[in-house]
Symmetry: C2
Subunit: 592 residues, 2 copies
């Protein structure tokens, strides 16, 4: 089986050559010199490639087992989890006050890419803990923060999110789980939740469940939903782990992938919990961490594509099959390596140009999150909110497609589990579904985000594109290959937004029928912008006589591929959008 | 779990309203009245939906087990296999002389769709037997035919194809398996073959392996490859099954899907075989049945999409989640069904319009095969040869994408194995790989088929499109919605072919870098043609006052969707093709 190597040089290129993170004026950023981030990335790279990557296939093959009510994780998970905890990795970008390292989220995102690429199912145990801790950090009382955060930041206690019920996922207003208030201010939570990632396992002393539930007598529907902290074991007054709470695992789901993560049916039977945030404002509490969580899932799409690409590339270089049509390239061997064949190249370039573009997009998004959270930059907040459904939906859709392309490079060997290519496909598939299925992301984008703030965020995005093109209008190194295609693509995005404005008022279906196409159109323009910025950074470095010219030349060539062969998809998405709802909604349900 | 229902009405529509199979002058077709084909399809529909469909998930879950050197199939397979054999289904379109029913391949194809849709892994046991029997029929001596065919047509003996070895799949010239001639005219075959579908199992009395091997001293490479019949058990002079041959199962592969089919590593150790066809002409013998086999795999792509769509549709109608944005459609329920939401509609229409278009394309291809084989029509032969890689590559790529879309409709429930949505994705995935990976199909199309016969077949295809548009120029029912888009798309295909002609001579990479795009461009134009023909058939039926107007209106609406929202992909494929090889081949291998 091929192996995973953390692409730290590519990551450094984005952090420093493109985003120039040290030049930004965000509190905490002054320590982000290239030497420092390089050291962090190298350390994370070693841990993930040497310790975690070998566990990925083990987790897939063994899966989790429910024994006597407790989930047993695959062999080796616990030891590796301890190593991750001891390294302080789960709380890299968490406040020092509770034991974190206070680094910005953009660096946390880069590190999380390696974790997810090397062992996605494993990484979810501490990834979800990070999410739950963020919710407590944002909405908890001081007592809740002091009780839970120090333990969660070390992953002595892990966390989960409990939203979905058997009859409702997207439409959480239908929720049936009840939380009955007690005289002591606590609540007794009763109900069933499904699809709970990391719902139970044997790697921590306690599990902190964040549970959405309704307080009887509250408003109907989504407006009556509150969020609760429900630990697996009650917490004693001294903060130690006490008696069992009314929380049990109903069953483990059998899934297409991420077998190493325990996806549980969780039963709450008068389980004692405390309210997190305000009564009936549970959705708001969930949503404040949604941008972070959705960018995290977008990262999973990218990470799986990146790891799968590395496997495919190694195979394409090693496997001898056929001869180059333009003349033998390996005359001493029985055949040429796969990588000489144009259609294999096409596939590898599709993958490479997507991965590097999406990486820049994700890091940019995280950088905007930092600006929003640490500097209170409202414009950054609006922009990242707008782009979050694109990051989640576009990157996971495309990331999945890229794992399929990577698998295809292996031919028949990609279909058998031995090579690992299938696992990337099966694991990547979930990222299109959870944390809001991609159709819901598209709906959020077109139905909500596009018009949010009076359209200011989308105008800000267009301004960024326009300004970049204008500022670099005389830059011959990127004008024809990067700026011109970006301009065309950006016009398609504007035309699509105009179409929605002109037709969506008459009939919202005219907008919503094009929502998925719009999400992809936006994603391509965003990656086009990223590639233009990377093209400029690379050509600047070359002009400045950078020692590693080959690295920057490769960036330019990869970017040219994206602009020439991937970006033109924007015209197709626009063409589809402009057909509106007529053909989409033509049939009655019974005509299908 | 939802269920599968054979879409016999849609099938009849293609056979009779569109292809008008009884009106063609092919020997054997005179018995193909709608009553007759309807009865056959209904019977097959009953068997597949009632007996086979319930086994599909069983096969996936249990898989095959290798015990004491013999493969045990999942529970229920043997009984169902007996029922299929007793119904005569495996030899529907085989000659009566050997026990077949002599029906045309187009009807066999329609029936095979149901088999594959209901239980793909199961169906491969007799599907591969059909393929092996076809090879013996085409190239066997009278003794070989008399010995093997009667047993194979009843599936008392099943068949396999043994091509791939660990170090070579596409590039079979590297093959190492040897066949050493003996004094009695037989050969002793020694070597290892991998990925052998149905390689061993417990449902037949013997297994007839067709094995590619090299006779020592023959030409190097692919020109020295011959084909052999190597039975698992030797055949006695009286035709009965005798002693064991030197054939054994090395191991069963663990695969992403089709778990119900035994994918074996086969070891041949001085196994006795007889030459099939001429010495060193093994590839030619394999290729004569390649069109049939590749159309069969294309059918698997369609069939999985079709079954997955049925599941998704049932879920979309049943699952209540959210409210229609244009006003509640299920006021008495807690929410509206998923199918009211535009993005769910878009997905279902993508699936439906692909499935029905691809079905027409596949049946048309089989109809051409009948014309080629039964009437010796050289033009039909050229046309179906040209389109075979499109049928295989385009339909399996798109079919897989459609299973992914179907799975997405289920949200989180699509990711757990319980609903069956994941299995369609995992099973469909193999169709893009085996029988020539889709990149190889694209290479075959652009590198060989496009210029074959001096370009006569591709010109014939363009003539069919042009004539159809011309003949129906005054048909207002289809002009704007069907003919105009078809004309545009067809121009894109012509422009792409022109680009290859103008640039491929200078540098073949300019053509091969666009091969996959060309295959998809061709596929879309072919489906556009199919929809135009179906649109005409439907509007003719309506004009003639057909009693089932709703059926034909639905066809027209579904076709309009394809033409408006799917067919415009041709422009994108052309745009990519016209960028040539420059960005695709820009990097050296070590720059990746």
């Amino acid at each position: 089986m091929p192996s995973y190597t953390a692409p730290t040089k590519d990551m450094q290129f984005i952090l420093h050559d493109v985003l120039k993170v040290t030049a930004s004026s965000i509190p905490g950023y002054d320590e982000l010199e290239a030497d420092f981030t390089g050291a962090v990335l190298e350390e994370a790279g070693k841990l993930t490639s040497q310790v975690l990557a070998p566990l990925n296939a083990v987790g897939d093959k063994e899966g989790c087992v429910l024994e006597n009510g407790v989930v047993r994780t695959p062999a080796g998970f616990k030891a590796a989890f301890d190593q991750v905890r001891e390294g302080g990795w789960p709380a890299l970008d968490m406040p020092e006050q509770y034991g974190g390292q206070n680094m910005p989220s953009v660096l946390g995102t880069a590190v999380s890419e390696m974790f997810s690429a090397s062992a996605m199912a494993f990484t979810m145990y501490h990834g979800l803990t990070h999410g739950a801790a963020s919710a407590i950090l944002a909405h908890g009382t001081d007592v809740q923060k002091d009780t839970y955060l120090p333990k969660m930041l070390t992953c002595d206690w892990t966390g989960t999110m409990n939203l979905t019920e058997p009859h409702c996922g997207t439409d959480l207003g239908l929720m049936r789980t009840k939380a009955v208030p007690q005289d002591d201010g606590t609540f007794l939570v009763t109900g069933q939740k499904i699809f709970i990632s990391s719902g139970d396992h044997d790697m921590s002393d306690n599990i902190v469940h964040l549970v959405l539930a309704k307080i009887p007598g509250g408003p109907d529907g989504i407006k009556g939903v509150s969020l609760f902290i429900v630990p697996k074991y009650n917490i004693n007054d001294d903060g130690s782990v006490g008696s069992g709470n009314g929380v049990s695992v109903g069953m483990l789901e059998e899934k297409m992938g991420i077998h190493g993560n325990s996806t549980c049916v969780m039963n709450f039977d008068e389980a004692r919990g405390t309210l997190l945030g305000e009564e009936h404002k549970g959705m708001r509490a969930m949503f404040t961490m949604m941008n972070e969580a959705r960018i995290g899932v977008g990262m999973q799409g990218l990470a799986q594509a990146s790891a799968a690409y590395q496997y495919a590339l190694e195979y394409a270089k090693d496997r001898l099959q056929g001869r180059a049509v333009t003349g033998t390239e390996n005359p001493d061997g029985p055949a040429d390596p796969l990588i000489v064949h144009p259609d294999i190249r096409r596939s590898l370039m599709d993958q490479k140009s997507f991965i590097e573009g999406a990486r820049a997009f994700l890091y940019w998004g995280s950088n905007l999150l930092d600006q929003a959270h640490r500097s209170g930059d409202k414009d950054a907040d609006g922009l990242v909110s707008l782009m979050t459904p694109v990051i989640k939906g576009f990157v996971t859709d495309q990331g999945f497609d890229m794992t399929v392309q990577a698998q295809q490079v292996f031919g028949g060997h990609g279909y058998i589990e031995e090579t690992g290519a299938s696992q990337f496909v099966r694991d990547a598939r979930i990222a299109m579904i959870y944390e809001g299925a991609n159709g819901v992301q598209a709906l959020d984008l077109v139905g909500r985000k596009l018009a949010s703030g009076g359209g200011k965020p989308i105008m800000a995005f267009f301004d960024i594109v326009k300004s970049f093109i204008k500022e670099n209008a005389d830059n011959e190194a990127i004008k024809t290959d990067f700026l011109d295609p970006l301009k065309d693509a950006s016009k398609h995005l504007q035309a699509a937004a105009m179409y929605f404005m002109a037709n969506g008022m008459k009939n919202p279906n005219h907008a919503l029928s094009g929502s998925t196409d719009f999400m992809h159109l936006f994603g391509h323009v965003a990656l086009g912008l990223m590639w233009a910025r990377m093209g400029k950074a690379a050509s600047d470095a070359l002009a400045a006589g950078a020692s590693d010219a080959a690295f920057y030349e490769t960036k330019l060539a990869t970017g040219r591929y994206y602009m020439a062969r991937r970006l033109p998809a924007t015209a197709l998405h626009l063409a589809r959008i402009e057909t509106g709802a007529d053909t989409v909604m033509a049939l009655d349900a019974e005509q299908f």
